[in-house]
Symmetry: C2
């Protein structure tokens, strides 16, 4: 069943024994929504916990508080936040496939895996939906406002991406009114980079190939580069966005060698259809951001993706 925000607020008051699920490789939106909903349900007098997520980055450690479920907790009601499909469940949530009572989500692609769905696809962050649900019960206070602010800020690149709407800013204003230290959150997530990350970025710019007068940039991190610089998964997070900021670049390709002879490609474009480029190489995605895997060396991957770009250019 599809529930409006108001119906969802009502539905949640009528149940108890909540377990809240976050998605695989959790981001600030799923974490922030889960913690805020947990705190709000407890304030309503309910039992509520967030399922521990084995994938959670230490970056989000300050936000969990005491929300995580103790071992052996048996829920009566299972709610997912910011999860578009059961394929995005973390390992820890495997047992809840087919057993989710309510999904709260902002992905238009939500598969409808839950018994009930509260979906607002026009919201930049699922945190905006949570804010509107919680304010049906009481004004949001600082303890809930902080994780909700994390949700909004991280899903919009600090109000930078095109998904940011007037509603996003209005909710951010209301959250900040509670006295939270938004600048501390912003500094943590948007103005802090590891030494290795900065060196990876420096390596990308020094070694990238530019074509068509700088409109096409091909940047690569071989396994040897990653080992030499000591790159971890955190250091490589969202590295594909780096090359796209280069002035004049319309098509940015970032190649990461995963294992000897296997390269992961991320293609970001300003005009060309990135999903068409990646489809030629067995991948897919969105018109402005897509990905694929190429079997071969970094040099093989560069040649393959450049050929695919040429083919799409000539038939676009």
């Amino acid at each position: 069943m599809t529930l409006s925000v108001q119906q969802t607020a009502q539905w949640l008051t009528e149940r108890d024994g909540y377990l809240i699920l976050t998605h695989k490789r959790p981001d600030g939106d799923t974490v922030g929504c889960a913690v805020a909903l947990c705190l709000a349900l407890r304030k309503l007098g309910k039992t509520a916990h967030v399922l521990p997520n084995e994938d959670a980055s230490s970056l989000f450690a300050p936000y969990w508080g005491d929300a995580l479920a103790p071992a052996g907790f048996t829920p009566e009601t299972v709610v997912s936040v910011d999860i578009a499909s059961e394929g995005l469940f973390p390992q820890s949530a495997e047992t809840y496939k087919g057993r989710v009572d309510l999904a709260i989500d902002h992905h238009g692609s939500n598969t409808g895996f839950a018994r009930n769905l509260c979906l607002e696809a026009d919201k930049a962050a699922c945190g905006e939906i949570l804010y509107h649900i919680i304010t049906h019960w009481f004004p949001v206070e600082a303890d809930m406002a902080l994780p909700l602010y994390v949700a909004l800020a991280t899903d919009t690149g600090c109000f930078l991406y095109s998904n940011t709407s007037p509603n996003t800013h209005r909710v951010a204003a209301a959250l900040m009114e509670t006295g939270i230290d938004a600048a501390w959150v912003n500094k943590r997530h948007f103005r802090t980079k590891s030494y290795t990350r900065l060196r990876l970025e420096g390596h990308l710019v020094e070694t990238m190939d530019l074509h068509d007068g700088g409109a096409i940039a091909l940047a690569a991190l071989s396994l040897a580069d990653q080992e030499r610089l000591g790159a971890t998964r955190e250091d490589l997070e969202d590295i594909a966005a780096y090359v796209g900021q280069l002035e004049g670049v319309e098509t940015a390709v970032t190649i990461q060698e995963l294992t000897p002879g296997e390269c992961k490609l991320s293609v970001r474009t300003g005009g060309l259809d990135a999903s068409a480029v990646c489809a030629l190489l067995g991948g897919g995605g969105h018109p402005a951001a897509a990905g694929c895997t190429v079997m071969g060396s970094v040099a093989d991957a560069k040649a393959a993706v450049l050929a695919a770009i040429r083919q799409v250019q000539n038939h676009g």
Copy 2:
């Protein structure tokens, strides 16, 4: 005389023949305020122009529209926006020193150089004040909303810095409601870097000296480095902010060799008093961001600032 926002709105309706001044090395806030005020005064039926600013970066070219004053325009009323003192007038405004009728500003340090002053020091951007003035007359429409959004976004690092307030977000929401392409502005100002800028950043990280287990970072751009990489003034803009984002760094020093044997130092700190460090070297500034000039080579400057940091550490 000190005028409130409401009094300023009234004052502006009672005069005509406006010339609007922007500050030296204009930023998005002074440019955005000037253009928005000019358009609003014209909508009130007034004659209004913005004084051309010889210092203006091409980055702001799309925002001027037809606001710039024709040669020979003789104003009846001179208004400055976002200018804290006459020392910050551009060359083109020299002739208006002592002749400003109204200053609209958000700098607490405003010297009171104008006959009338509308000052709100709690505002992150002067653009917020302009928004409140203009909405005394009529709802802001897209033509004024775009430059005002530029003002807000650029003075807050896209709603990232600690000056961002709930009011900043609420005004941003209202501006976006007019249908402006905020994402285009954000991309231009926050997600676009020149190839040279990226190479300068890569050079800084590859050559920086780390002390105290990474808590102190000393980064430098010699004249030879700047020439080799072809750095322009635009490429070097705000380069001091780069090193400060390195995880674990508490004291970040960026040294730029200006002429042979003359180095400009920028010191950004998380705990140590940056102005005390720079005062020891004949400079000054704020507790978290200060600057000074050291006569000598880059190596001399590094040694001098490290000694100054040690002295402040030992007496702090």
